[in-house]
Symmetry: C2
Subunit: 148 residues, 2 copies
Amino acid sequence: MKLSKRGEYGLRAMIDLANWTTESAVVPIKDIATQEKIPVKFLEQILLMLKNAGLLQSKMGVGGGYYLAKPPEEITLGHIIRVLDGPLAPVRCVSQMAYEPCGCPDEETCGLRLVMLDVRNAIADILDTTTLADVIARTHQAQNNKTL
Amino acid sequence: MKLSKRGEYGLRAMIDLANWTTESAVVPIKDIATQEKIPVKFLEQILLMLKNAGLLQSKMGVGGGYYLAKPPEEITLGHIIRVLDGPLAPVRCVSQMAYEPCGCPDEETCGLRLVMLDVRNAIADILDTTTLADVIARTHQAQNNKTL
DNA sequence: TAGAATGTCTATATGACAAGTAGACTTTTA
DNA sequence: TAAAAGTCTACTTGTCATATAGACATTCTA
């Protein structure tokens, strides 16, 4: 039930980019890697995957870098995780994006499957409705609460 | 975010055992393996882990086998999964049973962490309140709905 | 127009872990 | 005492996570 490093790094990088986006800047990989303490070459691959998935855009050459393809309000954590880590579902037979039969005699009446479907939905309900903007808002909110 | 085969097999085996428990029987590994189509030697290890965790008891020798250490109403899916697959939390910095710092500058105000905490809680709320008895009940319920 | 700064792409290394297999050993019963 | 069961440890095999390396393409600027 664990998020991979790739997934975690990708999320952190996207949040980082969302913070820069307010100034509509283009951010080089190196800067993100330094900021988030991620191996540069690993981050390269991650950002490339996110670009190929249409979540990022990039500019080559001097002064180039990455930037969000859409405003932070329109990018969900669920989307990012699915690109980097695959389906959210704990078992394939309840996955929306990558269904596979699990071999139990009757999926329709399998109690375990029904519970796992609840789990999948609980996860997806959170991750598919939480955007990068929401994450940033929660961070600021927590910071304010702390200083009170 | 995926359950391992070990976890899935273990859950299915426990549910199987819970079904036999009504007759307070002792079930040999081979029978469970056949029923659930699980490799016998693999299932051996799984049941042993569950026994060492106190969820199963066993009887050696002819006529021996496994049986639940507690009634099905008292065994949660969360407990089984933790034994076989480790923590439920998607990242360790929100794990109750296996916390580890994640290296972000301030965990208390990390928005990503707060979201992941929600996810962990959503998963745990389901898995730690759903028992083997609940799974069996849902199966029966689904079967009844089907024949209506 | 050269060269430095950037992203792009593919290949490779390494270690951990999942999933499964093997076999010797112990206990119990008939 | 032999057969049927669980116990324990080691091993195999393949896949995947987590990187690392290096050649290449593009863009800017001096």
